[in-house]
Symmetry: D2
Subunit: 374 residues, 4 copies
């Protein structure tokens, strides 16, 4: 039984809304059936139409949507909130009060008070609330967490996280980059820049993997970009309740790093290393033994995966690209049009070439290893 | 406008059918609306029900399906064929004759004659025919092809492909592994084992990237598994029309390699290296210059990608895992049940912890870099 | 003209003394001709004999050695000091006062006062004084420094250094490891443990590569080993005069890291990454361009190297191993003995096999690619 | 007791002679005391003088040298032959006949007949004969060999070797590169180009690691360089007596590869992977278990090494560079000259900076983690 999903935010031109929709589709559990995609009614309606949403379930406001969907017998099973950050609390509140589970993009809010109020409301309503801290979905991050929890590296001593990007190395905010503009504006982003945007990911990853409870923080934040009001580089020390230590280097001005999230955990009995740029591998070193590379879906790994080991996570995307382009070809065929662009999709003649290769190869071998024409 | 997809094969317990369905869903171009999921009517019906297919569009045979779907005004726009290999030709033939475009899993057929007949039929019908050679969908494989086509590495001299797996290192076929059983059986797989199963992928990749036309092949095929009738290791030399040379090592008995597809191209003016186990990177070396690592979606790369650079392809899967588990939580909530298993999904309290981290970090910094309690 | 080297410390059983001797021999600039290898006269004499030092130039004390060598017309051109750390200042002082240049292992001293006194004395004497901070000798570290100095990455913003080992993850000091025993003893090592042993390397590397002047430090030091008096893990923040920031994580309890020294520099116009475990590569990313892997001796690299690119630094060691084993064989031949152990050295029959391979390969090719017996 | 080494070839401007001398010096077993460095008497004498060889032991011809050294009571213990390849047999013959052990650069000869004659002569004389196949000296190559010999990967099935360079990608022989000129000239190199120059290394490595006996070869050799008489690219298949298979791709026209020697061995019970560009690591995968990265000198590794794990092989070279530059400084000091060039050698003030860093860091920590000025 598929579930019905609504969405607030994520209209035309948005980035993360599209990611949420792909994620919701991928395993086939959700149908997107309703949305308040924009505060601009025209734009909301247009986005809804493009997404195949029935007109009566495209709403002009999240408040109207929460009310109407709660009232329908076939109302949505959950709402995905993909608005700018400062809207997360009011939208989440509206849907929680309407009895509708929430899937909310991170960060939860822009103030501690708002966040606390949401925690309280979730407790009162008893509703599911999912915060999409993406990396907690990586199989090998979960494997790391499971290894720590199972005591495989002993008591944790130090946890180190790097989260490095380089897209703010240049003053992107003054050259028309909208993402850069709002993320460097305290009015829209709150008091933290880099520490809030990606530092929290690093912080969450540290606690997610180790299970440690943080007790104190010391931060040296810098805005290197000229005339930049918020930090774009964060050097952070952490202390945890159990005596463990931690460090975070989060930076958006680190050339060479596109989205380099990397965690290293040093425990009494072993160590772990995971790097988002090579997400299928987890390096596990028991003290006094060689490093073992645990691979998603591979030997000795407990966390389930969609694909067998060695099919990297991009495999599904590569496959989906073929289907997307097949859709393009079929549409052109239906329309009687031709795009004229270079078609790289493999087709029946490629299949024939493959067959000829196999048969010629088998013959070459049968005759003792001779050259056979193709 | 979404397109309507039918599927032949891929019922309960199948592997590649599920991959096709994920791929078809990912970008939202296709709805699966019909299928002949199994030759066993009961199983076909059950699979259809689980996939949410209307009962009247679940068929007992591909022939009946082709006929009925062609006749419906809302008939399928294309069929995906994910049966065992020897059925690809008859199924494809039936749908092509019914005027329905085909998306067919590789290999196209088990004989050259069948493949030739399909090429002819596709030409006659003028219908789209897509063979799902997966790796041709990787952005950086396409980037490699584009660089070669643009003359960036000059005339190609040598192309080297390795495709290594280790799942047949042990006699898996005699220990109940069904995949291993049929793939090592000439009656079901035809004359080639490893050369047909993965050697063709390597061969296709070599020609896809370089655009070279192969002229001759020499193969040394070996069955290392005890009592194995088909090759599990293929050492292959290639010659191409333009004087270029090539080699393929395909093996299913190479411990340490899970699905190691790797291509290196040596051209007159530069070289390329791509490895499926690190699919986001393409190494490009112009003669006499340092190697440049081109990254999917990154600086200087032309091939489009779903995500910005540094978000590895697994990012979408990680995201989708959160949505899949959110579905589980919402279902339990609807049912009033509790699974009792460890919930690792981030929730509202994680969001609160993140806010506290940001605020404490900003305060630490404002006061000159002091420790602040969390 | 070769120079004459003396050595203080480094007798039988020492570690770093042997490294200094290899380093002094490698390029053929130095002959070791004198030494005070131990404070134990018998042991000193025995070490000298084994090293081929004439008996009259083996000394019982460094004071005697400084005096005698300064007086000889053929006295040493420099002394290498490889004693325990607390002896560095008195030994260096004795030789400087005797007018003899000094090559001193790091760290310079165990107190700031001793270090300051040495700085003063060196200035007064005008003698060469070399501190062997090893990594400053790596070609690609120098290349990094040169790139920064040439402005290729613009103004430096952040410098990150990790120096990770795991040999103190277990309480090695209580299981008979002498290195561990003295390094964890404040009486012998001074107030710093890990921060002094390897943290200073990280600190020196940061300033060597960037040329930045450090202005302030904040350290969180921990002794994780049970009953360990000195820190074995150091989390350190740095500030530099020019507004740049830095972080150091130095640890001797990080399982999986053997000697992982890694530096990343983020500049206004580009970034650099170097890792001692892959010392031949330097990653250089100009802002907005793909990462380039600069290789020791390779295209576009200015720093000279002993070997062409691609011959990793271990090449010389591999070669030297053959020579060392050849010495063993020749000695056995001279003595008429046989060791009976497995000889892996290639010999004349390997050369014959190689010739046969070439000739058979050429014939195979000449006859169009056929199998030829070996 | 050090041994006395003579050398034939390797005068001014030669490449490999210098490598042999470094290798001979590194462990301190050899003193170079005699040589016939060139067939040009003046050049021979000049080279000898520069190398510190006594004039009476600098010879004009290898024949004279063999005779004279055999007659001296303090004659050489072995000769190193580093001439062009075609001279290896006559020189080796002269010294063997004079009763002097031989260390000979590879390849042994340029014809099978010459090689066979040498094998016979070595057997007759009973003298040590070492062929410097460099990579057999790498600790992790030896570890690989030991693992195979100990049955850790079971019966070997397939061995794959790549040896890739790119220095002949352009027509270097026509632009004044002497190395390129003689290596592409059949008159000086014999019938094989790339197959002889580096293909034999790959072949030797395959047999060295696996212990397999080769039985047949099939080669597809190509000269891609314009007007090049000898092959610069070799695609080779191998068969071994025990039913194992092998492939070699050797190329000197592969842009991006500087000296990429890489071997992969697939055995019944496990697999191995070693890459000369990362010589300290050996990947070992037992069937059905995660890959383990064995590191030179590290946990679970039996082959001895000069240095502990994590000190990469370049460590000694970095150290030696400091000593070489120290020699330069001491010479300048002795001469009262100044080079005026940028001195990067660490000195006493660097040591002071390090002490200040330690003391400030310890104080920062003692006061609870505060900023302390440097």
């Amino acid at each position: 039984m598929r579930l019905k999903l609504g969405m607030v935010g994520g209209g035309k031109g948005a980035f993360i809304g599209g990611i949420h929709r792909i994620a919701a589709r991928l395993d086939g559990h959700w149908d997107l059936v309703a949305g308040a995609f924009s505060s601009d009614p025209e734009r909301a309606a247009q986005s809804a139409a493009e997404l195949g949403i029935a007109a009566q379930r495209s709403y002009d406001s999240f408040a109207a949507m929460a009310k109407a969907e709660a009232a329908r017998p076939d109302g949505i099973d959950a709402v995905a909130i993909v608005t700018p950050n400062h809207l997360h609390p009011p939208v989440a509140t509206a849907f929680l009060r309407a009895g509708i589970p929430v899937i909310c993009d991170k960060p939860l809010a822009t103030t501690v008070e708002d966040a606390e109020a949401l925690v309280k409301l979730v407790a009162e309503t008893g509703l599911p609330f999912i915060l999409t801290q993406t990396y907690t979905g990586y199989p090998m991050v979960r494997e790391a967490r499971a290894l720590v929890a199972a005591g495989r590296i002993g008591r944790v001593r130090h946890v180190q996280v790097e989260y490095l990007q380089d897209w703010l190395a240049m003053p992107a905010e003054s050259s028309g980059n909208k993402q850069a503009a709002w993320r460097t504006d305290p009015a829209q982003s709150g008091p933290g820049g880099c520490i809030a945007d990606i530092g929290t990911h690093a912080f969450n990853l540290a606690t997610f993997v180790t299970g440690l409870v943080p007790s104190a923080v010391l931060a040296d934040l810098t805005a290197f970009g000229p005339d930049r009001a918020l930090d774009d580089n964060a050097a952070i020390l952490l202390r945890f309740g159990e005596g463990a230590k931690g460090m975070i280097w989060a930076s958006q001005v680190a050339p060479g790093a596109k989205n380099g999230l990397r965690i290293r955990v040093a425990g009494e009995a072993g160590g772990l290393l995971w790097d988002q740029e090579r997400p299928d591998d987890l390096e596990f070193t028991p003290v006094g033994k060689p490093t073992r590379t645990l691979r998603r879906g591979g030997d000795g790994v407990l966390t389930p995966a969609r694909l067998p080991a060695g099919h990297p996570e991009g495999y599904l995307e590569a496959f989906a690209t073929l289907y997307a382009e097949a859709a393009g070809q079929v549409r052109e065929f239906r329309n009687g049009t031709k795009s004229g662009r270079d078609i790289v999709l493999p087709t029946v003649s490629d299949g024939l070439a493959g067959m000829r290769f196999i048969v010629a190869g088998v013959r070459s071998n049968e005759e003792g290893g001779i050259w056979v024409r193709l």
